[in-house]
Amino acid sequence: MGVSARAPSKKPIEWSWRSRVVRGWVYQLLALGVVIAGVWFLAHNTQENMRTRGIQSGFDFLGSAAGFDIGETTFVAYDPSESYGKALWVGVLNTLRVAVIGIVLTTILGVLVGVGRFSRNALVRGLCYAYVEVFRNVPILLQLLMWYLLFVDVLPPTQSAWKLGGMFFLSKGGLSLPAPVWAAGHAWMLLGAIVGILVAARYRAGLQREFERTGQDRNRWAVPLAMVLGGAVVGCAAGGAPREWSMPEQLAFMVDGGMSATPEFLAVLIGLVLYTGAFVAEVVRGGIQSVSLGQTEAASALGLSRRQMMKLVILPQAMRVIIPPLTNQYLNLTKNSSLAVAIGYPDVVSISNTTLNQSGRAVECIAVIMVVYLSTSLSTSALMNWYNKRVAIKER
């Protein structure tokens, strides 16, 4: 008679305090009970308070007319007779504008400075170090206030704006620069560029395959770049080659035409980029340092050039260290953009604040802020997690 495999015995739950399972259940029930009681307590008080103070609740106010003006808008037009909902949407777009442009600029600045910390030139190293230490150790709110003060105090009034080649104007009124006048041709240009990007991506994938097969490494930028630019030029020509530019002009009391950015926007953008850039630089430096020296030595023993070493050996390994904290910095930048309320840039926090003061719907307005930031945070981290999975080194 063989020994039959013992069936996993299902131990009956021992109903005593000494059983881990039972204790686990008790703890969990207790924790849930405390949380539920806490939430109920707060909700109950809030309702009670609202009733006695005659505060209305609900999101119906989003439909009623806002009645306040917003200094600047992104993509959409807005006037005070429109609804609170529209006003908040304008705020969300303003927040996103500052966050997206800020993230792009911060990445560029941070990578440059982070790599600069390894420069062979001592002056460059020193400057990068000084920049990082100074900007990282001063509160972002203070920096924003200072940039704004510089804009409204130090810059000349609009009548005597600083000019550069009659195209760029910088004054208390903000920055004005030339902008193309939108025409159907630009849509064609964009289309051409997109087609160019697709073709270039295929071409680069081909180069990669060839590299993996033969070890022949060819320049992967020149031809793809030409493809994208070529696509854009062809598209532009096909669309009738629009060439009209709107130039900013100096008028009696203002600068008109072209693209313009308000001093509030510029102060928020510059402040956020310089502050977050210092942190990104540290992240990049940490990432590069985390690649062990042996890797560099092995790479030079194989005869790789400095550029190849960076591209093929160091960066791929540094990336997996860099990406998670980089994501955090992007999220920080987005969240810090809420400090724009201190200098009057109409982001979603500032508009929610105005809405709160006018309509008295405190709970709803704070809820709007939280939902907006939570959804941006969660989607940014989802995107970066996806990218992180892609660059993560597959181990066995």
């Binding site: 949380v35 008080n45 509160p139 709110l141 003060l149 999220l331 405190a362």
Partner: protein, 367 residues
């Protein structure tokens, strides 16, 4: 044959391999690109330096003379604004004749912080010392004992408020963070979920919205008739906010503990809390000291946000000092530079200290 040994005269050290000139050559003039950068940067420095020196030193006004400052406007800095206003900037609205109290209180608090950084003092009685420090701080600031006249908390401001908010929120957030981090790693699903929701919810929103909630909405949450000091509400807000971030840092440390340690503890028959207290936390917390220090620095900087909910800490006190004074308002930028220097001194000291701690830790690891 009496052949005496005569040593060959030592060769001079190769001139080009060491010393100042070699350092210069290697670090500033390595190749043509490096040389060009050096020359350009030096030229830029020479171009900018005279202007900066003129503005900040030679043409600057150091005395508290509003007229002289007005005259020097545009060409020289007006440091006189600090000579005139430093009391309000540093102490806020605290009654003028009682200002020795916040002075002493801040010194005691900062001394406590410095002492806690020194290795020799890492003994159990450090906790007792802190109880004493906090007691002295609040006795001095609040008054009402030992014949000190009582001062309302809404008159507190400036540096004492900044230091107090930062220190207390760190102290309060830390134990909470450890508990939440343990909860997040727990295998009881309900507790884990509660902790995850708390962490993600707080980390997803900006501090300013938490502060808005603490200062404007909190009265709505409480039963009628209860009033809680706005300082306490803001402190709770910062603490809850900081704890979520710290919890993630602690979790990083917990995850780095090899599973074998836990299994060994189980084998020894240690209970959950014994395992955490004696095995897991000592290792995990030591591992995360550097990132914890970074977090402390950002909490210190974040206290500046309470100015948005009208508490007059350092940044807010500056507005208080200058916004309503027509004579001195134009020289806000100099005052900003002054408090920038204060913040920088604190944060830079903390980050240097964190580097030192990191070095100490790596010494113990690379034996």
């Amino acid at each position: 044959m009496a052949d005496t040994f005569t040593p060959v005269a030592p060769r001079p050290a190769p001139a080009a391999a060491a010393g100042m000139s070699m350092w210069l050559r290697r670090n500033l003039f390595g190749d043509w690109r490096s040389s060009l950068t050096t020359v350009l940067l030096l030229a830029l420095g020479v171009y900018l330096l005279p202007g900066v020196l003129q503005w900040s030193l030679f043409q600057a006004v150091f005395g508290a003379h509003a007229d002289a400052c007005q005259a020097a406007r545009g060409s020289g800095a007006c440091w006189g604004v600090i000579t005139e206003k430093w009391r309000i900037i540093i102490f806020g609205r605290y009654p003028f004749e009682e200002q020795w109290r916040p002075e002493v209180a801040t010194l005691v608090m900062v001394a406590g912080l410095v002492v806690s950084c020194i290795r020799w003092f890492w003994r159990p009685w450090l906790a007792l010392l802190w109880v004493g420090v906090l007691a002295v701080f609040f006795a001095l600031m609040l008054g009402g004992v030992l014949g000190l006249s009582p001062v309302r908390t809404d008159l507190w401001g400036g540096l004492p408020l900044t230091v107090m908010l930062a220190t207390l929120s760190i102290f309060l957030a830390f134990p909470l963070a450890v508990l939440v981090a343990l909860g997040r790693r727990s295998n009881l699903p309900a507790i884990r979920t509660v902790c995850i929701v708390y962490i993600e919810l707080i980390r997803g929103v900006p501090l300013i919205s938490v502060l808005f909630m603490a200062s404007f909405m909190f009265p709505l949450f409480m039963p009628q008739g209860t009033t809680i000091d706005v300082l306490v509400r803001v402190l709770v807000g910062i603490t809850l906010f900081a704890a979520a971030y710290m919890a993630e840092i602690v979790r990083g440390g917990l995850q780095a503990i090899p599973k074998g340690q836990l299994e060994a503890a189980d084998t020894l028959g240690l209970s959950y809390w014994q395992t955490q207290r004696k095995i897991v936390l000592p290792q995990a917390l030591a591992m995360v000291v550097p990132s914890m220090m970074n977090n402390f620095i950002s909490i210190f900087k974040d206290t500046s946000l309470v100015t948005i909910v009208s508490l007059y800490e350092l940044t807010g006190a500056l507005g208080l000092a200058l916004n309503s004074d027509v004579n001195w308002r134009p020289f806000k930028i100099e005052a900003y530079l002054f408090i920038t220097a204060i913040y920088f001194a604190f944060c830079f000291a903390m980050s240097r200290y964190s580097l030192w701690v990191e070095k100490q830790l790596s010494v113990s690891r690379t034996r």
